[in-house]
Symmetry: C2
Subunit: 255 residues, 2 copies
């Protein structure tokens, strides 16, 4: 028995979805609407008391944290290996996953929450919103939701996140100038991790990722988007999120 | 050829040192004095351009980030395996390393930097300090050093870190009530990771870790301290840091 609790097939939810699609695993999909705070409902808190998504249930095992879930999925199931065999490539895979999880993604996420997530729930009934926020089990997640909903990120916080996103895009390109995939010559969990973060960058008006400025990153995005597993993962989306990917279509060369 | 650039055998530097001692590897030790900013010197920036310690050089490979280095060391060298074979235990190992690296350690670190690191460099010549701060390659590390040196952490930041440390100590104890080691019944990199963070907690006046409040954590600390590898790792210390460990001596039962 394999059940995944997830939101749209992007960001943290997209990581285990894409890993499981790469391994062609059958799993029971439980879609939670992040914008409706489904992840803080009493039913879901029985699955994951911290109220974060995704969560994987494998027989009687409850597994949280998207990156650690991906490592579990690759170790526990047959199918193509998603971790390089070479120790140096495996180190580089983990370096990039750590960089994405601790630095690049939280910064991009703050900008995204400020621009999209906050505004898309802001118009709900104020009393209902208050109750939803109070039901969030982790105090630091309450703070993050409040900042997003009520537009309370400071200009300094947003500027620092923007600086980090620009730096992330730059060293990402430097690495892909030297290697076909993030970890080296082997496709790995690092590519799956990063794709769920970087896929949207070419549509970001800040323009840090574009065919002109970061051709190697764009080539990597096209390759990622062309993988059958990516197509299957994105077909699980229930909102307009999937439409964001049109910019990942490799341009056809004019005859 | 195996060279480790490190500070005292605790915190991030202690993680690869202890992992390498557990595997009984010979390595060339390069001690950098963190409080003298050795890690931002032009010579060291040739080894690690981001100016963070530790760094491992293995033949022509340059490896950074303490947790990813530990995973590399275990994968690349013979000796006792430091990662459980069971996928669930391996997931739990990574869950705890992520929790320590992203949540528990940064909070404890802010309190430690505020109480110890800042005050111990604060009295250097102001102009020299300014130059040392300007030589830090990463802007966010410049900010962290400035806050520590000039006492600029806000009361809110310190209170939030204190809250997180208390929460960390609590779920740590809950986990060790159920398991002998962090990942389960197998000693792993998670124990090495966490020992370098938790060893000091019983000496912390906040009192979140003590024989009375957290007996399972104390038992785990005694077991960790009794390992021959821990003794070898701590004997590499050059300051009074090692004296902090006297509280980890298992109390002898009175006759």
């Amino acid at each position: 028995m394999l059940k995944l609790y997830h939101w749209e097939p992007n960001a943290n939810s997209g990581k285990p979805i894409l890993a499981m699609e790469e391994k062609e695993l059958d799993f029971e999909s439980h879609y939670l609407d992040l914008l409706n705070f489904d992840q803080h409902s009493p039913e879901y808190l029985k699955i994951n008391p911290l109220g974060t998504i995704p969560a994987l249930v494998h027989d009687d095992r409850m597994l949280y944290e998207s990156t650690a879930i991906m490592e579990y999925v690759d170790a526990a199931f047959p199918g193509p290996q998603l971790r390089p065999s070479d120790p140096e490539e495996r180190w580089r895979m983990r370096w990039w996953m750590k960089f994405c999880d601790e630095y690049y993604a939280p910064s991009a996420s703050m900008l995204g929450w400020n621009a999209f997530i906050g505004p898309s729930v802001r118009d709900k009934d104020p009393e209902e919103l208050k109750r939803k926020i109070e039901a969030i089990p982790q105090p630091e997640r309450q703070v993050a939701w409040k900042k997003a909903i009520y537009g309370l990120f400071t200009p300094e916080e947003l500027a620092e996140s923007a600086r980090r996103v620009a730096f992330g895009a730059q060293i990402f390109e430097e690495n892909l100038k030297r290697h076909s995939w993030l970890a080296g010559e082997t496709f790995s969990l690092a590519d799956i991790n990063a794709f769920n973060l970087v896929y949207f960058m070419p549509a970001n008006p800040a323009g840090h990722v574009s065919p002109e400025k970061t051709p190697c990153t764009m080539e990597w995005l096209y390759k990622m988007y062309e993988r059958p597993a990516s197509k299957r993962a994105w077909s699980r989306g229930k909102t307009m999120t999937a439409d964001r990917l049109t910019h990942l279509q490799r341009p056809t060369v004019a005859a």
